[in-house]
Amino acid sequence: MNNPMFSVQQHENAEEEEIKVNKFLRGEVADLKVVKDKKLKGQLEVREQLYRKSAKAAVKADKWLMPSEGGFLEPEGIEKTWRIRQEAIHTEIDILSKRNQYDIVFPGLGPYTLDYSINGRYFVAAGQKGHLALVDMKKMDIIKEFQVRETVHDVVFLHNQKFFAAAQEKYVYMYNDNGTEVHCLKEHGAASRLQFLHKHFLLTSINIFGQLHFQDITTGKMISNIRTGLGRSDVMEVNRFNNVVAVGHSKAGVSMWKPTSAVPIYTRQCHMGYPVTAIAFHSNGHLMATAGIEREIELWDLRKHEVLQTLPCHANSLDFSQKGMLSAASGSSVQVFEDFSGVYMNHPMAKGYQIKKVLFRPYEDVLAIGHSMGWSSILVTGSGEPNFDSWVANPFETRKQRNEKEVHALLDKLPPETIMLEPTNIGSVKPTRNSGSLSKQERDAEMEAAVEGAKNIAFKKKTKGRSKPSKMAKKKQEAIVRTKKPLLEQQIKEEKDLLSKNKRKRIGEDIRLPKSLQQFAGKPTT
């Protein structure tokens, strides 16, 4: 026990464990010294201990109870990982994994976009000339393929493999897994990109006029329709951490949107003003990769709002894997980065295969590539999460489990107001503000929040002609004015206070008047 090496090892183990425990603790330990109330302090201490206990139990389960281990690629001798080709890997792996390397060629049906379902088992591919194919990846079986005889710009799965949406020439269509057209969503118009927010059941699209549409597919209601005002855009991605939609523009960089506000919640110029060609988000929500025309990839830290790193790589399509690997594709080659110090893997294809989209398959070490001649699938070892959670996404789902999951997801459907840049703010307490310390920005934000709240007030519909549209509009205006008035009054009062304080300072009055006489203190001395 007195061995110094042993104690150093213990210390290291303790540190490692600390890091692992912090991974499962959502956020930092609360500072309880500022809590004055003893009863509350005691209760909070007990809570914190419980959280710590559950984090430790999760660490243990993580260590011992995980059924699978991740993939890896270890070069031997002077081998480098980026020189290793798919054919070289092919000889070393088992039969089941060999099935995941293939090229499917449909010459002449246009560049293909693809999407995977959330458990990685189902796959939909759409060729620009109108070919739609729904594939079961476990059985390697085409469930349904059909031609829509129109250009298809984008395709996306909805909540499970039963429904998918395709952005066709004039409108967005929703299809069944039988190939039946279920809905024609005319309001979206000619969409260029589609995305689906799983927790909110919102189908998002951006169309050629730069308008964002958010539609709730459970009720069919269009939640909002936002004119970005920044021109046409072909690049739209969702940050899965906070479900915020990011749009890349040709002149304005990257902007982030939420359905409940008409102005972007975040904009940032990137790539020195050049058009943005692709965006991708890491699953932890901090890291964003953007690619521009000037053949550089910028890695952004979304907490500090600054560029972490720039990679010299041309990219038309970017995707982050579950384990944090970034794949960048341009022309006919794909590059995969693991730790951004150099390339991890490389996959050049024949010149005729111009790549449109790359997508990592969830829970597998597979990267799907959609290109002008069809689609391919290659193995990228170490990119997928080896252990799935059955309650989140189950690749071995049965029909009953899928139906139950759908019902539970509908019960837990989040309202669109929960989409925000910091999702952990829900349930937290707004800090009490000193009226003097509000900056102009905060004041504006407060006013806007109040105005939005006022706009959402529902007025009773009266009968006998008492609810004419003009009257309802007037009532709404009055409600907005009513909510704005106290804020404006407070602003004026604060400014007046500031002036009078300065005045008092000048006069030199530092006598503390009793409370009952303070109403007379502000009067100017004649």
């Binding site: 890896f72 270890e74 081998e79 792996i93 829970y363 597998e364 959670d389 690749p395 829900i426």
Partner: protein, 452 residues
């Protein structure tokens, strides 16, 4: 080179036979889940709404008495039975499951003012305004089941006549003495026809009496001179006394913290005291709008039920200033006595309209045997609701209770009055010399003085 690719074999991850359960795999990594707080918030909101949908607290009413129910007693050894006494001298034993009278104990000439059961559950002691104390044999539970159609009548074991009318009676928790309250406090033994001991401090009548669950020799009484007195049987004189501004109608000791008791007062509040330190109330429980008539603690010691003259029954947390639950019915008139059942799941109230009513302690609780999954789900929903119950939308739903109009009006009137008094007090303090008006808290304000 060494290569490994994730490959899962289907047999490991799916069940072998169709009789097996489906296999479930867990990965607790937070990166797999997004927006956890929002999902929890939505679940809390739905849980609050479901709670309200399933809130049906009234189980049933037991009618049979022909005059107001004045007192009730629980049997410590038998969960299903409750004794009740009415203003016309009728004492009955009820079976809570069938809500029927099992046995009647006729004999009292006037109102029955107090009922209590001995420690072993065999002897029922009743006292009334006819200055008698009667002891009865409690029928054995096995016989009770078989004879539930006919209501039996029992003969008293003993009848002791004494000098004055009695107001209350209580039995020691672990002994064979019982005490009666009337013009004086008398201590009786089962076998003696006369009190073993008498305490007389003031000239006023003692209205209620309670033995301490932890210390068999300590009892608390309240008298009509607005005092609360604590007696120790081993001493010759009473131990402590406080005088309040208004009369205390009933006292209940906390069975889990036997040094604390709560007094139900005429000024619509309940005051919790620590018996060792009576100069300040530990907690003031305010919510009733009329005099609180009776109070009883749950066996968990975490909440208590009060019945009030304002026709409502409220359930409070032991340390909470406001009630967690209110029960009222159009047919329930002035509530004179309440009891918490010994398994902490029911509340029984006896009222002016001659009925005893059985309510659930937790209004939306699912009764009966719960499957483990159901139980876990209920626990989860309760926990997630408590985590977000301070947020406005959830709070609005959780707090909402329908009040009868007179009570709502009375409560808002009281609020206006107390606000006005507070403002006036603040202004007086602001306009007088600093320090000349001492601030006293509500916990101390209602106590006039303490006497050793």
């Amino acid at each position: 080179m060494k290569v490994k690719v994730i490959s899962r074999s289907t047999d490991e991850f799916t069940r072998e036979r169709s009789q097996d359960l489906q296999r479930v795999f867990r990965n607790y990594d937070p990166n797999l889940r997004s927006q956890e707080k929002a999902v929890e918030y939505v679940r809390a909101l739905n849980a609050a709404k479901l709670d309200k949908i399933f809130a049906r607290p009234f189980v049933g009413a037991m009618d049979g008495h022909i005059d107001a129910v004045s007192c009730m007693a629980k049997n410590p050894n038998h969960l299903k039975g409750i004794f009740s006494g009415s203003m016309d001298g009728d004492v009955r034993l009820w079976d809570l499951a069938t809500r029927r009278t099992v046995c009647q104990f006729p004999g009292h000439q006037g109102a029955v003012k107090g009922l209590t059961v001995s420690t072993d559950g065999r002897v029922l002691v009743s006292c009334g305004t006819d200055s008698t104390v009667r002891l009865w044999n409690v029928p054995i539970p096995s016989l009770m089941e078989s004879d539930d159609s006919s209501s039996n009548e029992a003969k008293p074991l003993a009848v002791y006549v004494w000098k004055n009318a009695f107001w209350a009676v209580d039995h020691q928790w672990n002994g064979d003495l019982f005490a009666t309250a009337g013009a004086q406090v008398d201590i009786w033994n089962h076998n003696r026809a006369q009190p073993v001991n008498t305490f007389e401090w003031s000239k006023d009548t003692t209205i209620s009496i309670r033995f301490n669950p932890g210390e068999p020799n300590i009892l608390a009484t309240s008298a009509s001179d607005r005092s609360i007195t604590i007696y120790d049987l081993r001493l010759q004189s009473p131990a402590r006394k406080i005088i309040m501004r208004t009369r205390t109608n009933s006292i209940a000791w906390n069975p889990m913290e036997p040094m604390n008791f709560t007094a139900a007062n005429e000024d619509c509040n309940c005051y919790s005291y620590d018996a060792r330190k009576l100069d300040e109330a530990k907690c003031v429980h305010k919510d009733h709008v009329s005099a609180v008539m009776d109070i009883d603690y749950s066996p968990t010691g975490r909440e208590f039920v009060t019945g009030s003259y304002d026709r409502t029954v409220r359930i409070f947390q032991y340390n909470g200033g406001h009630s967690r639950e209110i029960y009222h019915t159009k047919r329930m008139q002035r509530v004179f006595c309440v009891k918490f059942s010994s398994d902490a799941s029911y509340v029984i109230s006896g009222s002016d309209d001659t009925n005893l009513r059985l309510w659930k302690a937790k209004a939306s609780e699912q009764l009966g045997v719960l499957l483990p999954r159901e139980r876990k789900n209920h626990e989860y929903l309760e926990a997630v609701k408590n985590r977000y119950k301070h947020l406005p939308e959830v709070k609005r739903i959780v707090r909402h209770r329908h009040l009868p109009r007179p009570i709502y009006k009375a409560a808002s009137l009281r609020r206006i009055i107390t606000d006005a008094e507070r403002k006036k007090d603040e202004r007086r303090r602001a306009h007088s010399a600093p320090g000349s008006m001492p601030k006293d808290s509500l916990r101390k304000r209602r106590i006039i003085k303490e006497i050793e």
